[in-house]
Assembly symmetry: C2
Homo-oligomer: 354 residues x 2
């Protein structure tokens, strides 16, 4: 394993329980029945404990959209042609995609990382060129990438987290674009969850029954051919993953090492998060789930983090859209923590007097 | 029935299906797989159809917090003393309550209506004095209000909706404050849902087992004593309701008549909404559910509107907090509708070419 990956994994510490207790005590002093804001209070507590502050405030928010292509698309497992990956990257750069609209609403930056798209892009200020290759290889025929490439993708994510920490970011979201990447993610969840491929595989961007059957069969074949080691997340990434999934893994490791909370989007982000958690379970302390996607494989992630999604809007778009929607809820939670009056300051009778 | 109430009920029209179809056609032209934004698309469609515009935009948002006291509190059914109602109203006016924090985050106004609080307030620009009485009567002993008072509370809501329409509001939320009002709401849901009191009664602000047993018994006794007519929403409001619940009913009737969408908060708002829907089922076309509260009675409302809540954050605070959180999601949905690129404008391959 590359030194940067090993050092980062080793530097991640659990969030101290005392910080969580202190945050809870503050929340209980606010003018509301204890616990009556439910998961908003849980989010506020977690955020302020991660950031180790009594005055949490979210100023700088960014969503990192890792884009990459997948060799397995030549098996005909997607509703859209592979050229949609670079076309959508261009759409992100032009500000016309769903993630741009939602990020603007949340006053968040969108940073697009070409970590392996099958296209040469014209340079753009919002596009980071960290291309490893012009897409992965076809997992149905060979390993999706080499172990060196897998480690390179993780390293890119770690380096980005370090740069973002340097720039003073308060909250991150994971996003991705890559035609074929629900196939890679379902393969990962089958291995991590010890579940059949049929149980964890969904319709992605909207494939028909025949294509779904083929998708399941292609994943089954790839898993039988390569036998990824369930206890070696980098082996899983290497054999059936994607460059964007490695980037997400690395971003989470790097962010946890720098005490930066990260919101996890849908299936693909959850796959990257699950692999990162397997490398160090304390990563869980730094991540916020967002939505429950329509894709069934994501259940493996929720089981792993032992936390429910914040909402279920039947979304299945990816890009980071669910995670950025959750920015609004986390920001609300943090403002509750920082801005509400206490029973004492407002002169309100507490239940003890009832 | 007062003319203003009858006229308003009669003037509410269903939202024309053609408007919904046109909105769906626009959503399907945007750069995302059809339907992949799930309920966000449903919200965008509903909002633009209500407002009858191809360019929906939410500028002016308000949450209307109806505050009133409840005579039934003398039965000892709440975790907090009744004087908390005026204390919390003062907290709203000082900007220190949860609803203030969340409304500021959403750039929404908070308008507090004293529709029946047991306190004389000093005038304040954000407080509307529409006091009907210093609280309802104790439903355990007599009807909570007279039918004339019930109609007055509904009229106040209708008049407020008209004023807000005049001021150019784009989106409303219902909120409330009133120690004892989960007791009134549970009674309403027992009648409307044809369910036992135990099935629809929860712990409100956090009562213990003994108080919960008493609360259920008090409601059962009141329903047996008064036998509200399940087919006469105003009779239900009169006998076991609250002034704030009548205000919410009226606000919804008035808003629907003026094509203004309203977001419904938790248990108490859902009780008011359910009664309004019973007066004219087309009210459903103008309301957005927000969160699933911890209170069990709210299920009757979700069954009535045949729509799921947007999120379940285990909240049970009221004030309008869940509804105002939903403002962010509805605004996101509307921005998706108005700001995203189309496949054609972005030059992206549609699935037909796959």
């Amino acid at each position: 394993m590359l030194d940067i990956i090993r050092d980062t994994i080793e530097s991640i510490q659990p969030v101290p329980p005392l910080r969580l207790q202190n945050a809870q005590a503050h929340l209980d002093s606010l003018t509301k029945p204890p616990g009556s804001l439910g998961l908003l209070e849980e989010m506020a507590k977690k955020y302020s404990a991660i950031r180790d502050t009594d005055h949490p405030c979210i100023n700088k928010k960014s969503v990192i959209v890792f884009a990459a292509d997948h060799g397995v698309t030549e098996e005909g497992i997607s509703a859209y042609p592979a050229e949609v990956t670079p076309q959508m990257v261009q759409n992100f750069l032009n500000g016309g995609a769903a993630i741009n609209v939602l990020a603007r609403q949340q006053n968040a930056d969108v940073l697009v990382v070409d970590i392996g798209v099958n296209h040469r892009f014209t340079p753009h200020p919002d596009l980071l060129d960290r291309k490893i290759a012009f897409g992965t290889r076809n997992m149905a025929k060979e390993s999706a990438m080499t172990r060196a490439e897998a480690e390179e993708s993780i390293t890119i994510g770690i380096q980005m987290a370090a740069q973002l920490a340097e720039s003073g970011v308060d909250l991150l979201a994971t996003g991705e674009m890559g035609i074929g990447n629900t196939t890679a993610s379902s393969a990962i969840f089958s291995v991590l969850g010890g579940l059949s491929v049929a149980e964890v595989t969904g319709r992605g961007t909207g494939i028909d029954d025949k294509t779904l059957t083929r998708k399941i069969s292609v994943i089954q074949h790839a898993l039988e051919k390569h036998s990824p080691d369930p206890d070696d997340p980098i082996d899983i990434l290497t054999k059936v993953g994607g460059f964007e999934i490695g980037g997400i893994m690395g971003l989470l490791l790097g962010a946890a090492a720098k005490n930066i909370p990260v919101v996890i989007d849908g299936l693909i982000s959850s796959a990257g998060a699950s692999l990162a958690i397997k490398l160090n379970p304390s990563v869980k302390d730094y991540i916020f789930p967002s939505h429950r996607s329509v894709e069934p494989g994501q259940e493996v992630f929720f089981n792993l983090i032992e936390a429910p999604p914040l909402f279920d809007l039947k979304m299945r778009l990816g890009e980071g859209t669910g995670a950025v929607l959750a920015f609004g809820l986390i920001d609300a939670a943090v403002k509750i923590y920082s801005e509400m009056a206490t029973f004492q300051s407002a002169g309100i009778s507490d239940r003890a007097q009832a």
